[in-house]
């Protein structure tokens, strides 16, 4: 009887420990990590440009509960669109449909964690102008020189810069 009681308490104890996880268990963050963008996928080599023909894309990611997120779309140092997402909820996921301007866009994701720490993630996305979209639809491409400008991959420095500001 005593042994049973012992096992019983052990099970309860274990359940309490497991039960302590009150957010979606399969999203894990390391100590210093607060926000991740999962879509569009961003961890490529440095000489890869994220390119799209779409005017609107749905940015999705994971973040710790209570993180306040704002996403700005910047073109040539000027703010094009701003999206205030507010606090991330219990699912630890966020998403925002953003509008891209033509050609170069800087997607600036600013976040404030629940401990009042501030961080920024910047992603560069190149949106093909509408005219190229039509050209592609109607062209038969036989050599790279048939492609409109900027469709051939650049090898200059672009990519993600994660900057932690303040502590």
């Amino acid at each position: 009887m005593k042994l049973n009681q012992y096992i019983f308490t052990l099970i309860i104890f274990g359940a309490v420990l497991v039960g302590k996880v009150d957010t979606y268990a399969s999203i894990d963050f390391t100590h210093d990590e607060y926000v991740r963008i999962t879509h569009p996928v961003t961890d490529y080599d440095e000489d890869y440009i994220l390119t799209t023909f779409e005017e609107h894309i749905n940015i999705m990611g994971e973040a710790k509960v209570g993180t306040n997120i704002t996403i700005s779309v910047v073109q040539e140092q000027v703010l094009y669109k701003e999206y205030i997402l507010g606090e991330v909820g219990a699912t630890q996921t966020f998403n925002q449909l953003i509008e891209l301007g033509e050609k170069d866009n800087q997607i600036v994701l600013e976040y404030t964690t629940i401990e009042k720490e501030i961080g920024v993630i910047v992603v560069d996305i190149y949106r093909q102008p509408e005219e190229h979209k039509l050209k592609i639809k109607n062209y038969i491409v036989s050599t790279p020189s048939d492609l409109p400008d900027n469709l051939v991959e650049k090898t200059t420095d672009t990519g993600i810069q994660i900057i932690m500001i303040g502590k």
Partner: protein, 444 residues
């Protein structure tokens, strides 16, 4: 002279025979009296929604409206394509990643309950197995010469059946271009980070402060409501259910219910709260087997034949469930307006003793019983347009949080949709997020 006459006569007789044959059996200008009778097909079960999916890594979907019965033609096109398709034995059963299908451009027919391929086509199809389908995805190829693929998807068991339509002379590409508008964008949940919380695939309205959805409030009214029981007014709508309307007996029951009985034949119960119930009292002696699809057609004919179901509701129905009860099929139909489902509030369901807008029980090709609401549906007039700005993350997060507090781990939602909740009549109803979990709707 006589010989010539004989020849002429036989010539003309022969000519008339030939011409009659031509007239009756063929030729481009003939009246073909002996035409092969067309194989009759039933109306297929209508999908709840039809979507245009833009495809690509950043795919989103647009809802094709059905306010002017646009769906009829789009459904007929699929039916036609499948009727002409003869190689169902070549259909491939695949269990690969279903979410990848949504990276393709296409038309999506979303069914509110699992249907078989027979029920999608309207006619029995020779297949190895009676597959249950949640969604039909028609892949639109980029060029006119490439084939269109059709995928029949089952989310619950994670498989899809693929067929390749070789003859590309269908309207699918035109339908795609026509409805590839710039309206509210929906995110197929299967391609969203929130897919882990949602069963199968659901179309999430992707709205926010910068991209709100404009909507109108709706109002339900009870045209049949009688303050002083003007029976004649009610009779106008229900007399057609009776063989001899004059012979029917009328009795007033408690709680404002009027009962009209034609002994051994038909019974109508009218409730002032807003329902009419029909019961077929004739003993059911025939046992002609009936398929679910035949029953569905009988139900649709029945609904169209009665004015007691308001015309503003008749054209906006979809089958939300089909159950089997005592060897009969019970069809539950609900209303969808401007692409938003109308949910009956649970208290209203209890008060009216009804779970869906229309419930009809069919057995052996006969309507056994039916119950429906007598309300009419209108848009509330407003000189300002209402905007809804809350995105789909909010209700999902709230529901998730609420369930976590009740120690439910990793809940999966059946639906996350902007709905109208009908709780009372004569009041403007706005849209709000509804989350269906465990068969019940929640409004977090």
């Amino acid at each position: 002279m006589l010989k010539l006459k004989t020849i002429m006569l036989s010539f003309f007789i022969l000519l008339s025979i030939i011409q009659t044959i031509h007239l009756w059996l063929g030729g481009s200008l003939s009246h073909i009296f002996f035409e092969e009778t067309a194989v009759s097909t039933l109306s297929p079960i209508s999908p709840k929604n039809i979507w245009v999916n833009t495809g690509g890594n950043y795919t989103h979907s647009y809802l094709i409206p059905n306010e002017q019965q646009e769906y009829e033609d789009i459904i007929a096109e699929l039916q036609q394509a499948l009727l002409n398709y003869t190689d169902f034995t070549d259909a491939q059963y695949k269990t690969q990643d279903i979410s990848q299908l949504f990276n393709q451009q296409g038309l999506i027919y979303e069914y509110s309950l699992p249907v078989t391929i027979d029920e999608i086509v309207g006619k029995p199809i020779p297949l190895n197995y009676n597959y249950k389908i949640n969604t039909v995805f028609i892949k639109i190829s980029d060029s006119n010469i490439a084939d269109n693929n059709i995928y029949f998807i089952n989310y619950l068991e994670d498989y899809y059946i693929e067929i390749i339509l070789q003859d590309g002379t269908y309207e699918f590409t035109n339908i795609y271009s026509l409805f590839n508008t710039n309206d509210t964008k929906y995110q197929p949940s299967i391609k969203d980070i929130k897919s882990q919380f949602i069963q199968g695939n659901v179309f999430l309205a992707n709205i926010s402060n910068t991209l709100p959805i404009i909507y109108t409030n709706i109002i339900f009214k009870n045209e049949l409501q009688q303050d002083n029981f003007d029976i004649q007014n009610i009779e106008r709508y229900i007399d057609h259910f009776f063989e001899k309307p004059i012979m029917k007996e009328i009795s007033l029951l408690l709680g404002g219910t009027i009962e009209f009985i034609e002994s051994q034949k038909n019974l109508i119960r009218y409730s002032n709260r807003g329902t009419i119930q029909y019961i077929n009292l004739s003993p059911n002696t025939f046992t002609t087997p009936m398929s679910k699809l035949e029953g569905y057609n009988i139900v649709m004919d029945f609904i169209n034949s009665t004015d007691s179901i308001h015309p503003t509701i008749k054209n906006r129905l979809y089958v939300s469930d089909i159950k089997i009860e005592q060897e009969a099929y019970v069809y539950y139909l609900d209303i969808i307006k401007n692409g938003h489902t109308i949910i009956l509030n649970e208290n209203l369901q209890t008060a009216l003793e009804i779970n869906s807008a229309i419930e009809i029980k069919v057995k052996n090709h006969n309507i056994i019983e039916g119950k429906w609401i007598t309300y009419s549906l209108e848009e509330e007039y407003s000189y300002i347009k209402y905007q809804f700005t809350e995105g789909y993350s909010v209700p999902i997060d709230k529901m998730y949080s609420m369930l976590q507090a009740q120690n439910v781990e990793q809940p999966k939602f059946e639906n996350v949709e902007l709905v109208y909740e009908l709780s009372s009549i004569n009041k403007g109803i706005p849209i709000k997020w509804g989350v269906k979990y465990n068969g019940r709707w929640h409004f977090p």
